[in-house]
């Protein structure tokens, strides 16, 4: 099982839930907008109960279109979508009761209070959680009687997630839940997602933050130009890059050596140069670094910079597309 590979320490799916029970399944999903813009070009996804599934990709990759089709807000051009074993066409009312949605950038009514907003959304469900309970869970109790317009960005986002949680959802859909938030607010959102998951919920989220996907998601599909270009658990994806480590250095020499020159060092899988900085993808830094230092010494050069880091999903994306995730 894929899940077994995951970092221990976080409360994951309770064991009584069957891990192989698919709650979201879509096959060959396509969406063509008027004017022949192909936003989604054949995406397959299977999300299992209790999983936190991430769609990672740059802006415009088709993440929002995909998640909105799964939420039943857009119609697919072709392909099949099944949520909890049902389809949007046949059981829309029932499905609406079982999912919670937070759209990318919903601006809730500014002149209602936080509690009023939550009670309004709760009122749409046959069974709703008491507003105070949700407010306490999302650390919004102090702001319960404040107008929504007066909230900070992080508080607004937590309220948006609260409106998704108020109806006891089995699946939570979050479209870019932390975009534009400060680091502390992002961590609060992550805690909310983990808690929901620890209580047995399933999460599908989209993000263009690789660190978010890496820390939060059990399984990731990397989406680019409307297709999934790679999928797997974060460790699987990262080990697919080749080396697990990166050694980056700069020399104070006028004439840098060509990339091929560094290739001869032991354990180097790839070499990239970016201005003055040379980046080596390596399997075992403890073998490569002493050899690198010796080579520099031999040639009478001096290092002006030397850092090492582990491979990240960013490297996976760069490796697959030649672009950075957040290229403007």
């Amino acid at each position: 099982m894929i899940r077994r590979l995951l970092v221990a320490g976080l409360a994951r799916t309770p064991t009584h839930l069957m891990h192989d029970q698919a709650v979201v399944r879509c096959r060959d999903l396509r969406k063509t907008y008027e004017g022949n813009v192909e936003a989604v070009r054949g995406i397959d996804l299977t999300i299992y109960a209790g999983q936190c599934y991430g769609l990672l990709g740059p802006n415009g990759a088709g993440k929002t279109t995909t998640i909105e089709i799964l939420e039943g807000l857009l119609h697919e051009t072709s392909g099949t979508v099944e949520i909890l074993g049902r389809t949007w066409r046949e059981n829309p009312a029932e499905l609406r009761e079982s999912i919670g949605v937070s759209l990318q950038e919903t601006r809730l009514a500014e002149k209602l209070t936080v509690r009023e907003t939550l009670e309004l959304f709760g009122g749409f469900y046959r069974k709703a959680r008491p507003a105070n309970d949700v407010l306490a869970e999302l650390a919004l109790t102090e702001k319960a009687d404040a107008w929504v317009g007066k909230l900070s960005g992080g508080q607004k986002q937590r309220l948006a997630i609260a409106t998704a949680l108020v109806g006891y959802p089995r699946i939570l859909f979050l479209d870019e839940p932390t975009t534009g938030l400060d680091p502390q607010s992002r961590r609060q959102v992550w805690d909310i997602v983990r808690r929901f998951q620890s209580e047995g919920g399933t999460v599908l989220l989209t993000t263009h933050y690789m660190d978010e996907a890496e820390r939060l998601c059990d399984y990731i599909s990397i989406v680019d130009h409307g297709t999934v270009i790679a999928a797997g658990t974060p460790p699987e994806l990262i080990s697919g890059v080749g080396g697990h480590h990166h050694v980056e250095f700069a020399l104070d020499s006028e004439t840098p050596a060509p990339p091929a020159f560094w290739r001869s060092l032991p354990g180097v899988a790839a070499v990239q140069t970016d201005d003055a900085v040379t980046a080596l993808t390596v399997e075992e830094p403890h073998r490569t670094i002493p050899a690198l230092l010796a080579l520099v010494e031999q040639n009478g050069w001096r290092l002006s910079q030397l850092t090492t880091r582990q491979s990240s999903l960013e490297d996976v994306f760069v490796n697959l597309t030649g672009r950075h995730l957040r290229e403007e």
Binding site: L73, E105, E119, Y125, K127, A128, E137
Partner: protein, 367 residues
């Protein structure tokens, strides 16, 4: 903080709230009303503006004592006799007579300081100089003529009597208030519904709502109900203001007025729904709404009777929903007509509402 609450949660696990069929509708209605009353601009445009307008126009067109007619006599032989005659005439209190040198008298008449100029001629003839394009000049000529004849002792061939009547019901303000009520119902229906919807669409709030189990009919029903509730306050304010400030008399039944206003409010709410059914931006929607409302502001007889327009276009004007609403309101409020006697304009109103609603629901875009 988050940790402590999660402890509490596992200990207490609060019970779920089970909602009935109409909870969503009730919540939407309450939220809508709260939002409206927390928006100071809304309160101003819906409630204060029409009253200020009625007050301003009511004062401008209030029934004043009739203006005295201003007569100038050119100072030449015979002018003293003419002045004496006018002073002795029964209409003397309606005449303001001045005697000025001929050149100055001519100039002042031309400048509009006097309504008519009298030139005494030889053989006791009085020549009137007046401008037929100025209604007050025509009136002044005829009044001065009559005054001279009466003062000279001429007996009229047909004896006549006159009586003053400026009772409430026939004044401009009586005509105006039902028109303003109609205009208000149109404005707040179109803006109140259309604006709110486009704003919610722009904020992606409509999309967020349809991502929940909310019934779409409940949403529209709540909007319509909020309109009817506001409408009641509009009626009470406008007519109450007319009654209190201008001693207006409401002749017809209040029940009929409320029914007609309700119909009007719903008709314009449907029209607002239609104009806002697809627009993504407030700017687009307000452009469309102005285009829709402009002809009715001009043609539907809010401030003056639409009968002044050429007879050929009157049937078209009567087909406008605001014309129909204003006609029915005036008939009931000023003449005490029954609802059944107003079948034709009521049918026009219903048709507009039904057709607008049909197409609005058909074209409506939630996302």
């Amino acid at each position: 903080m988050i940790d402590s609450t999660s402890d509490r949660q596992t200990q207490l696990a609060p019970a779920a709230i089970v909602h009935g069929r109409w909870t969503g509708y009730r919540m939407l209605l309450v939220a809508r009303l709260k939002e409206l009353f927390r928006e100071p601009e809304v309160i101003f445009w819906i409630f204060m503006f029409p009253i200020l307008l009625a007050l301003g126009l009511g004062i401008a067109f209030r029934n004043k004592p009739p203006d005295a007619v201003r007569v100038v006599i050119a100072a030449q032989p015979g002018s003293q006799r003419v002045a004496d005659l006018l002073r002795r005439a029964p209409e003397a209190q309606s005449l303001k007579v001045a005697v000025q040198p001929p050149a100055q008298a001519a100039l002042n008449f031309r400048l509009g300081k006097f309504d008519v100029e009298l030139l005494p001629q030889p053989a006791a003839v009085v020549e009137f100089v007046y401008d037929p394009a100025r209604p007050e000049s025509v009136l002044a000529r005829s009044l001065a003529d009559h005054a001279l004849q009466a003062a000279a002792g001429t007996t009229p061939e047909v004896p006549t009597l006159s009586r003053v009547n400026s009772e409430p019901g026939s004044r401009y303000i009586d005509f105006l208030i039902p028109g303003l009520l109609g205009m208000n119902l149109m404005g707040s229906g179109m803006w109140g519904i259309g604006f709110a919807l486009v704003e919610m669409r722009q904020r992606k709030l409509l999309k967020r709502y349809v991502a929940t189990p909310m019934r779409r009919t409940d949403f529209l029903l709540a909007l319509a109900t909020s309109r009817l509730i506001l409408m009641m306050t509009e009626i009470v304010l406008m007519l109450g203001f007319g009654v209190v400030a201008f001693h207006m008399r409401v002749v017809g039944s209040w029940m009929a007025i409320v029914l007609v206003c309700g119909l009007g409010a719903l008709c314009f709410a449907a029209l607002g729904l239609l104009t806002a059914s697809r627009a993504q931006k407030i700017e687009t929607a307000s452009g469309i709404m102005n285009v829709v409302m402009m002809p009715m502001w001009i043609f539907s007889g809010i401030f003056f009777s639409y009968e002044r327009f050429p007879a050929a276009v009157l049937p078209l004007i009567r087909l406008l929903p605001l014309t129909a609403l204003n006609d029915v309101l005036r008939a009931i409020i000023l003449e005490g007509s029954s609802l059944s006697s107003q079948a034709a304009p009521l049918a026009v109103l219903c048709a507009w509402g039904a057709v607008s609603f049909f197409f609005a629901v058909r074209f409506f875009r939630w996302t």
